[in-house]
Symmetry: C2
Subunit: 318 residues, 2 copies
Amino acid sequence: MKNVLVILPLSDEQKARLEALGRDCAFTYTSEAAVTGEQIRAANIILGNPAPGQIRASENLEFLQLAASGADGYVKPGVLKEGTKLCSSTGAYGQAVSEHAFALTWALVKKLYLYRDDQTKAVWGDHGMVGSLRGATVAVVGLGDIGLQYARLAHAVGAHVIGLKRRMSACPEGVDELCLTDELDKVLPRADVVCSFLPGTASTFHLFNDERFALMKPTAFFVNCGRGTAIDNEALCRALRNGVIAAAAADVMEIEPLPADNPLWKQPNMLITPHISGGFHLPATLENIVEISFSNFAAWLKGEPLRNEIDFTTGYKK
Amino acid sequence: MKNVLVILPLSDEQKARLEALGRDCAFTYTSEAAVTGEQIRAANIILGNPAPGQIRASENLEFLQLAASGADGYVKPGVLKEGTKLCSSTGAYGQAVSEHAFALTWALVKKLYLYRDDQTKAVWGDHGMVGSLRGATVAVVGLGDIGLQYARLAHAVGAHVIGLKRRMSACPEGVDELCLTDELDKVLPRADVVCSFLPGTASTFHLFNDERFALMKPTAFFVNCGRGTAIDNEALCRALRNGVIAAAAADVMEIEPLPADNPLWKQPNMLITPHISGGFHLPATLENIVEISFSNFAAWLKGEPLRNEIDFTTGYKK
């Protein structure tokens, strides 16, 4: 008998479906806010996001199915004991995060954040010329599920989309040009919008630094809805202050929550949302997580191959 | 010899092209800010937007080619003498205004305006669930060039688009269902987003009133990028305050500039931009106006049919 700890806000109907998949298992249901270290260390299987610091290489934990798309907090030494299977929910957040990034892009392009600031002061003023995504060159850095869905949204409204990924493949539908992430420095000078969906790994750390912002057009917009560590925050702040790029938006930060005294908060051409693009904010996301988690739970019990299994050396799925 | 007054920011190349079309004409170039009543009343032909109050039924004016999409200020008695041909630049603003309305819609759906307000206070907070345009029902009220381009943007990102227009026709590409504006009351209860592109005419005055907001879903978003007079501002404010609808955005107001003491400025679920979606804020718009104006100028000189000629009884193009 396996102890299954479920840290997902499941409906009664979803719980019944899950229990039908694991008839010999004992199920405990809790939430991210209520879960205890004791529950985590008693579990053989966890569905959801336990705090990495509470796992402490639990001897009991055999399979951890995250609700998160990024597994960066769980591949660090000492979090999971060797042999624990780790799977992410990559694919669940494609719609929610890509749409949020798309909304942020339009807010930058049409200067909506400046007009909102004016509104709070009852000012009827004019901030001049605006841009468009029609005919714009949009570089999508990180072409997993989220990046690809963003690429398709941008393509659908008339942008020329350059997708950048680690390994070459056939050019996916909705992407006009496919490049390797290694070719980033050749792509940046061409882009009107640069949108990063890079995960937080050793190889993406501070990929966007002073040198890379300097390669972008002074009219370029930069958007980050991947992980905050891929951006050198201080370099971004300098680029915005000195007009190296036009404006930026981010849903993720190197340190979250962003400290109240960080100058990015008050940088006028910076638009910040507090890591809310994912989570369960869009109903479709939870449905996707449930679908991935349940099918992996059933597969793990049967010893079948798993979806989204994480390679501990790269932090990406295998 | 005709006196041609040009109130458009033309390049030298564009001026040369215009003068080649009217070799016998005398051209005067000015701007909306600098144009005088004397210049307006001396002109036989005007390209651009003279202030209606300065025309005073000028005996000299034979042809007025507006840079504006809406002709509402010019069809009122006493502005133009009988027989003056009046044409709008309907079609020139399709891209600029539809994209602005699209950006506003996404800002509402993803609550970006609330997060911007938090940002100004360095607050990292969570405003809960968000919506999507994928699978949403979007009612586009007024299906001229602007409305149709908005419909296509919404359709391209997965919305079910209901287009409403005055006269039945074949269902245009990008519209999933076509209805008559007379059927509005049947469509409003179904819509997740209602976007008005209605012009300011007698028949659209206060079309959106208490009764019509009450027909919408409490989760509905309302967007206005047509003319402000189609909306009863006080009814909108009541609907937002009382949760009759979820949120609204508008680029146009019944009175512009919106007076500083109007409660809409401070209504938290209202997003306001100051009639900046059109104008010359998107470079493509001026190119479109030049194209329409020059071809109509040449046609008028030759006595050929004009594009976008306004019917003084309806305020719409003939």
